[in-house]
């Protein structure tokens, strides 16, 4: 019954599909470039992208780690702040009517457009980048967690009240565990948004990071280096998403999305 996590993931046919599709795409891409020979400024070959990476790997890795740090930090801030806000919103009618209403209203603004504002407020550098990333990542986390905390079976609450459960027990033994699946689905969206936010932050306020590398390479019409950064961003995004996915599998073995069909 208790499979190792790796075995579980490996059995998931999707991961094999993803690898095959990616390899096939790279192969077709390489073949296409060799056959039709487009100018490198339009579309460099995968082999050329690899060569550009190998030419100065540490520049890319250093900037990737920087973006990773911004994203990770923004994500952690968003989760901590988001969960605290969600618990507050569910516990207090006042916070629900003020903070939650405001959040919903702001959520309908295309938040990326607010990024330049943070540069005015916080200047260029890491604090602006963090602010943009947190602003994007925190919304799905708060909104999902609020939904999860609220969606407790009313009869479960009746049972708890009839058994004189304390308010503390109701929150920590019923509401919070019940909200974890929603929190994790919010976190999966949040981690991707945090990365988007970090890159947008680097576009408008950066001096470092993969987003900044994309921008400078584009300025020099060095499409190959743009692609190196994009590939690294893709790899990073995938790893981050699966890191949250693995955390979810460890934290919620009981949740329906984790169960074997024959369980």
């Amino acid at each position: 019954m208790k499979d190792s996590l790796i075995a579980k993931i490996m059995r998931d046919n999707r991961s094999l599909d993803i690898v095959l599709v990616l390899l096939g795409t790279i192969l077709l891409w390489e073949l296409g470039v060799r056959l039709f020979n487009p100018p490198a400024i339009i579309l460099p070959a995968p082999s050329a992208i690899w060569a550009a990476f190998m030419q100065s790997p540490w520049v890319f890795i250093r900037n990737m780690l920087y973006t990773l740090m911004t994203t990770g930090l923004a994500f952690v801030i968003s989760v901590v702040l988001g969960v605290i806000m969600a618990v507050g919103i569910v516990q207090s009618k006042f916070l629900e009517r003020t903070v939650y209403t405001l959040l919903i209203a702001i959520n309908s603004v295309p938040k990326v457009a607010l990024a330049p504002l943070f540069v005015i407020w916080l200047g260029t550098g890491v604090s602006s980048q963090l602010a943009v990333a947190v602003m994007l990542a925190i919304f799905p986390i708060v909104i999902n967690t609020v939904l999860g905390l609220r969606s407790v079976d009313p009869d479960m609450l009746n049972l708890a009240k009839a058994t004189r459960a304390s308010k503390f027990d109701i929150i920590y033994k019923i509401r919070v565990p019940n909200a974890l699946p929603s929190l994790f689905s919010g976190m999966k969206v949040g981690i991707s948004f945090a990365l988007v936010g970090a890159i947008v932050g680097e576009f408008v306020a950066g001096g470092r990071g993969l987003g900044f590398l994309v921008l400078t390479a584009q300025g020099q019409f060095d499409t190959t280096r743009v692609f190196v950064s994009l590939v690294l961003l893709g790899v990073m995004g995938t790893i981050l998403f699966y890191a949250v996915d693995v955390m979810e599998r460890i934290a919620l073995p009981w949740h329906s999305s984790q169960r074997q069909p024959n369980a």
């Binding site: 009869d155 479960m156 009746n158 049972l159 009839a162 004189r164 027990d169 033994k173 974890l180």
Partner: protein
């Protein structure tokens, strides 16, 4: 097993002139009107009625989850204020927590009541064994069938040895065969202990099969229309439902249902 204390010998729970009115957009709605009922200690009482007759509302009031708006309820002679002591509740949905094992779900009752878990562990295991869940203690609710889950939720309600067991259509969502099994098991449990059970159902045969006394409720407004004793020997086999005596009781309820237009006679 446990003796009722501090109460008159023949009344455990007294409902006197109880009514409940909800405010609503279309004016006040009378959910319960002038309910009078004395429940004897150790009695198995079924409340049967069509949907909307207020039987679940009455149960919620008895559980201290809602307040009546007129009249009074006393338990062991004391006016009801909040959930009574030594009470267990079972709902139609088992409301087991998915992240807890069956054993931990049963022990939740002790945790909520503020009792130490360890003290109830052995009792929980005994209850699970008695309800045919031995070997499933470490399983999670989603690995069990609906009938097994509801058995676990009954074990949870019984964990702290309540005097009063309130059951709100507990078998309403189960298939007919599982329902029969659970009826027999519940009757057996009740006979072995001396608990007062108030059992809400919309099934006529379930009400008669289980009860010492059947209360028939009607709607618009929710009120009691009939109360009668069921004088069938115990333990009752399922085949008692085919007997003539059983048929007379069932017919009596069916007659009321027909008058209400719920059933055609």
């Amino acid at each position: 097993m446990n003796m009722m204390t501090g109460t008159t010998p023949d009344t455990y729970l007294r409902i006197k002139g109880a009514g409940k009115t909800y405010p609503s957009q279309h004016g006040p709605v009378v959910a319960l009107s002038d309910i009078n009922l004395d429940v004897r200690p150790g009695e198995f009482l079924s409340i049967v009625g069509p949907s909307g007759c207020g039987k679940s509302t009455l149960l919620k009031c008895l559980a201290g989850l809602e307040d009546i708006t007129s009249g009074g309820i006393t338990v062991s002679g004391k006016p009801l204020a909040g959930p009574p002591d030594r009470m267990g509740v079972v709902f139609q949905r088992d409301v087991l927590l998915d992240w807890r094992t069956i054993l931990d779900n049963v022990l939740l009752q002790a945790e909520f009541l503020g009792h130490p878990r360890e003290q109830y562990r052995d009792r929980a295991l005994q209850l699970l064994e008695r309800f045919g869940l031995k070997g499933y203690e470490k399983r999670h609710p989603w690995e069990l069938s609906g009938g097994m889950r509801q058995r676990a939720s009954i074990c949870r309600a019984l964990l702290c040895d309540p005097d009063l067991l309130l059951m709100d259509e507990p078998f309403g969502a189960l298939d007919a065969m599982t329902r029969d099994d659970l009826n027999v098991e519940l009757a057996r449990m009740w006979q072995e202990t001396s608990k007062t059970v108030i059992f809400i159902t919309h099934s006529i045969s379930e009400a008669v099969f289980l009860a010492d006394r059947v209360v028939m409720m009607s709607r618009g407004p929710g009120r009691i229309v009939d109360v009668f004793d069921v004088d069938l020997p115990r333990p009752r086999p399922l085949s008692v439902r085919e007997s003539d005596a059983f048929g007379v009781y069932a017919q009596r309820i069916r007659h009321h249902f027909a008058e209400l237009g719920v059933l055609k006679e």
